[in-house]
């Protein structure tokens, strides 16, 4: 027994060591941003990896960021774009996944395949056409343009993941509901959706993070008229010759907060979602 225990312990230590090492690497840039956002400009350049000391502690960056009224506006833009896109992706994605998985109709496979292509081809390859389309619709410099593009961007993966989870729901359950006289819409909303909640949380996180962090489409589709998102807004402190590092780092630190809160909200479900199906 002691031998076995020791083996288990060695294994456990090795696994934890590897995970801790990975965590350090993954969180290092974020920690660097947070640490330096609270230091004076000279201290940032003097010793970038040092923690703020009483003499180098400075919240000037935050002060500058918050004093700029449009920063709150950018924040709001980001929140609107992210939440509306997220809702659209989840609602349309879940409905599409259900329809594609549950009902046999002409062109079913073709539509599913078309959606799969969306996962394989990066949406940024189509930037020029997207830009032309948005200009054609007169939606340039609107949040609507971003919402539409992000919804299209998130849908394929959402349909794939949600479809997989729905396929795991036993057929008997839907058939029992059908025997009970439950309508197809109610089967979807009252039986299927509650059961794939972990999957919805997983998809929500996977969809939300890239949208919130995106710089590309805001830069191209909505870069002016107070329609900038937070990532774009933070760029205004980066000049061609002089960069206000305090403000940039403070803005980025602030930008992390909402996504972090949402992540914590979803994460309990997320872990379940990622491991569901792996073990019974």
């Amino acid at each position: 027994m002691p031998m076995v225990n020791r083996r288990v312990n060695v294994n456990r230590i090795a696994v934890h060591a590897a995970l801790i090492f990975y965590t350090l690497i993954a969180t290092f840039p974020i920690a660097l941003v947070l640490i330096n956002s609270m230091k004076s400009r000279s201290a940032i350049f003097g010793d970038p990896v040092a923690l703020p000391t009483p003499s180098t502690f400075d919240l000037i960056g935050y002060q500058q960021v918050l004093e700029k009224a449009d920063f709150v506006l950018y924040f709001g833009n980001s929140i609107v774009v992210t939440t509306v896109s997220l809702l659209l992706v989840l609602i349309a994605g879940a409905m599409a996944a259900w329809a594609l998985g549950e009902y046999r109709f002409k062109g079913n496979t073709l539509v599913a395949l078309y959606m799969a292509i969306g996962i394989m081809v990066p949406i940024r390859l189509g930037t020029v056409s997207i830009l032309k389309m948005i200009v054609g619709m007169g939606l340039i410099n609107t949040l609507t343009a971003l919402i539409l593009v992000y919804t299209a961007m998130g849908l394929p993966l959402a349909i794939l993941i949600l479809g997989e989870f729905m396929a795991q729901i036993p057929r008997d359950l839907r058939e029992a509901a059908r025997c009970d006289g439950v309508s197809e819409y109610r089967i979807f909303t009252a039986v299927i959706l509650p059961l794939i909640r972990p999957a919805v949380a997983t998809v929500a996180v996977f969809t939300m993070v890239p949208i919130w962090n995106d710089l590309w489409f805001p830069l191209i589709l909505a870069s002016g008229d107070g329609k900038q998102t937070i990532t774009l807004g933070a760029q205004q402190f980066i000049g061609q010759y002089v960069t206000n590092w305090n403000a940039v780092l403070a803005a980025l630190s602030l930008a992390i907060a909402p996504i972090l809160i949402l992540y914590v909200v979803f994460s309990r479900h997320l872990v379940r979602g990622l491991t569901m199906g792996a073990v019974k």
Partner: protein, 368 residues
């Protein structure tokens, strides 16, 4: 209250035909059990009656009404699934009431029905629990409760006891029989377990490879199987089959050579069997005893002995390799590897032709 009629029902999945034309009448209030080996199409037949599977050709009537195109909810049926199919996120109460919400049952009546069903099934203390907090037997009862509250004309059970352990299976079997007496609703029950079929059914439908082999009351099937398949399927342990050749045939009986010292006359008179035909003798283990005490004696080597307490099953291998199972008293002293004789009364014999169809038996035992 309704009877169910299947008229030449066929079902194909793509090019594969699963059911080859099933015709059957289920009377109002009857307890009919579909039984057969896995893949025989019994579950498909049940799902067709439920409306979960489309009919390829043929007609299905429930309560005299053609229901081929009618969705499950409007057929007046309720189904209990093998996997229970309980909604995992709803309490026991909600599981049972869920269907009623959509059947436009008013709230008080629905509540009354659910509580009544819970009372019958002894589920009242568990109404607020989720299915995951229940044992297998309790889950099965919730599934049955969900069917009861719909007050269906026809109950459909799809192997409802397969996921329960042996002791619970027997209890639930008795409960289902009791429930059928209480509700007196038409019930169609699918199982692969012939013991369930024998104990529950008022009528058994034996299916094999998409066809109905025989329909009849349990004891009718046991005593008068129409063919070798039914003979082998009903009864446990399985009926013994012995190859034989007809050496003489007349109106009073057949003489068959079954591989022992001399041919023997058996009471199957007036059949179509002719001299030289190959036939198969069927002997149930419970009619085959150790020793040469009965008229028909078969010999071989003891291969295995199973002591069950109240009885022992002695497996005897004949020289041609066929293993016979004989039921002996619990204290059987048969020794493995020893030569042994087993014997049966010819009144208990079954006889099948080369195609497996049974010959009618004419003997004194039948008249009694």
């Amino acid at each position: 209250m309704a009877d169910v009629s299947l008229r030449a029902i066929k079902k194909s999945f793509g090019k594969v035909e699963i059911l080859h034309g099933i015709s059957l009448d289920v009377m109002d209030g009857e307890f009919v059990v579909f039984v057969g080996p896995s893949g025989c199409g019994k579950s498909t037949a049940l799902r067709i009656i439920a409306g979960l599977e489309e009919i390829t050709s043929g007609e299905l009537y429930i309560g005299g009404k053609l229901v081929n195109q009618i969705p499950p909810a409007e057929r007046g049926i309720a189904m209990v699934f093998q996997s229970y199919a309980l909604y995992p996120h709803m309490t026991v109460y909600k599981n049972m009431a869920f269907g009623l919400k959509f059947a436009k049952t008013d709230k008080d009546a629905a509540d009354k029905r659910v509580r009544q069903a819970a009372e019958i099934l002894q589920l009242t203390p568990y109404l607020d629990r989720k299915p995951r907090d229940l044992s297998g037997g309790q889950r099965q009862r919730v599934a049955i409760g969900r069917a009861i509250v719909r007050e269906p004309a026809v109950f459909l059970f799809d192997e409802p006891l397969s996921n329960l352990d042996a002791a619970l299976r027997i209890n639930t079997r008795i409960e289902i029989a009791k429930l059928h007496r209480q509700l007196n609703a038409t019930t169609i029950y699918v199982t692969h377990d012939q013991v369930e079929a024998m104990t529950l059914a008022s009528k058994i439908v034996v299916m094999n490879q998409g066809r109905v082999e025989q329909v009849g009351a349990p004891l009718e099937l046991y005593h008068h199987p129409q063919n070798q398949f039914v003979a082998g399927f009903i009864g446990s342990p399985k009926m013994n089959f012995v190859k034989a050749t007809v050496t003489a045939a007349d109106a009073s009986g057949l003489t068959v050579d079954f591989g022992e010292a001399k041919p023997m006359s058996i009471p199957f008179g007036g059949t179509t069997a002719k001299t030289g035909d190959s036939v198969t003798l069927g002997i149930r283990p419970e009619h085959l005893g150790e020793g040469a005490g009965h008229a028909m004696v078969l010999t071989g080597t003891v291969e295995a002995v199973e002591h069950l307490g109240e009885a022992s099953y002695v497996h005897v291998r004949r020289d041609d390799g066929v293993i016979l199972t004989a039921r002996s008293p619990g204290d059987s002293r048969a020794e493995i590897g020893a030569k042994a004789a087993v014997s049966t009364d010819i009144a208990h014999l079954h006889l099948f032709d080369a195609q497996g169809q049974a010959f009618a038996r004419h003997s004194k035992a039948d008249a009694a």
